[in-house]
Structure formats: C-alpha cells, structure tokens
Amino acid sequence: MEPLTPAVFHILLSLADGEKHGYAVMQEVEERTEGALVMGPGTLYGTLKRMLEAGMVEESGERPDPAIDDQRRRYYRLTRNGHRAAAKEAERLEALVRAARAKSLLRRPQRA
C-alpha cells in the first residue's frame, strides 16, 4: 500500500475518535500540527471527496452542531477501510521513527 498524503492521514486521525463535520476536522488538524497544516475549504473537501470514493470515510448525515450554531452540517465518519488505512500508516510511521532512533537521530522516549 502506498503511503497516505499528510492531508488524508490527518483527516483519518481526526475522525478516529468519532464523527465530525468539516470545520471540526479542519480545526483539529490545525491545532495538532500547530498551524503547520491549514486546510482551506477546497483542500479539505477535495480530499474528503477522494476519501469517500476510496471508501475510507462515509457521510453520517446532516444536522446542526449545538456548540456553534443551528445551521445544518454534513458529518463524516471512518469506515472499516479508513480505520485499517490509518492503522497501517501509523505502523509505517512508527517503523520510520524506530529506524531514525536506531541511527541516533532521535532520543529514546523517557520513561515516566
């Protein structure tokens, strides 16, 4: 399997703990990357469209977000395929980090 693009992996990560609407996904990605990855509406929905076609995510209906306003929003959730793809990508990245540690590029994590 080919590595996922950063945008796809971040969206999968955002949806891993439950369904979200587009703005909530965008906010979470921006916070997690500390502003390094800011997805505009075109990038976010273009990526979601590809993920829908690939069967990684699915729409889970439209309803308002009580925390923001009463406008109806489109919610997305992970499919089994999406969950599997996210887990594989995480394993791939973990293996890369292990390789970087083995070459002393990273410090070993400190035990609490």
Binding site: Y23, M26, G40, P41, G42, T43, Y45, K49, R74
Partner: protein, 143 residues
Amino acid sequence: MRLSERIYRTLLKAYPKWYRRQYEQPMAQLFSDQLRAASTWRKLSLLWLRTLADLVRTLSARHAETPRHSLYGLENAQGYPRVPWSLSVRKSVFFARYEASSFDRKVITTEDLLLGVLREDVRLRELVGGVEALERIRSEIEA
C-alpha cells in the same frame, strides 16, 4: 450575509458544476465558520490570503477531474450527462410523434414509440412480420 461571504460564494462558481452540486454548500459554510473566528483585520487578511491560495491550488485539480461529457457541454441543467440521440432514435421519435397525431393524441404513448421504432428499423419490422404486422398492430391499437 457579510461581504466576504458573498465574494467567496461568487468565487465558488469557478469550480465545475458537478463539484459545486455536492460541495458548494459545505465549502461556503466552512468559510463562514472561518470568518467568524477571524476577529481582527490581520486575521481576516490572513484568511483571505490562505483561501485564495487554496482556491487557485484546487481549482485546476477539480477541472482536471471533470468528466468528458461536461467538457463537451453534454450535460443537462442538473449537471448529469446528456447522452446525445442517434439519427435512428430521432427518426423513431419523429415517426412516433406522427403516429400520435394520426390517433389524435396530444402525447406520445409507448404504443406510438413501438410503431415509430417499427417504421424506422426495417430489420426489426421484418422480424415481427413486415408491413402487414405493422398495420395489424395499428388496427389493434385503434380497436
């Protein structure tokens, strides 16, 4: 509606119709959410810079994904493919319209279409018994 929202909604028209049909509304809403968070002029300017860059980057990609039927203008008002009719089908419908008017009907019915197809397609007509069969069907419809 704020001016920025209006401008963004107008810019969204640059995306292909098939894409707008699905994503225009959520994209406009996402931009409105971002606008709400842009409380200062500096944040608003930054949002517009990012949004314009996002628009330029994604527009060409969406147009490149545009199905061929849309490129050639072969789509109806809803953006679905409009498959052109062949000459033979157009002739069949012409004959069906003729049959409908000969029965003094204001609409083309399935019987008219059947007669239209049999009048146009000689091989099909021979399969069901030739001109005699055609006349028999006509008289059965009349009865």
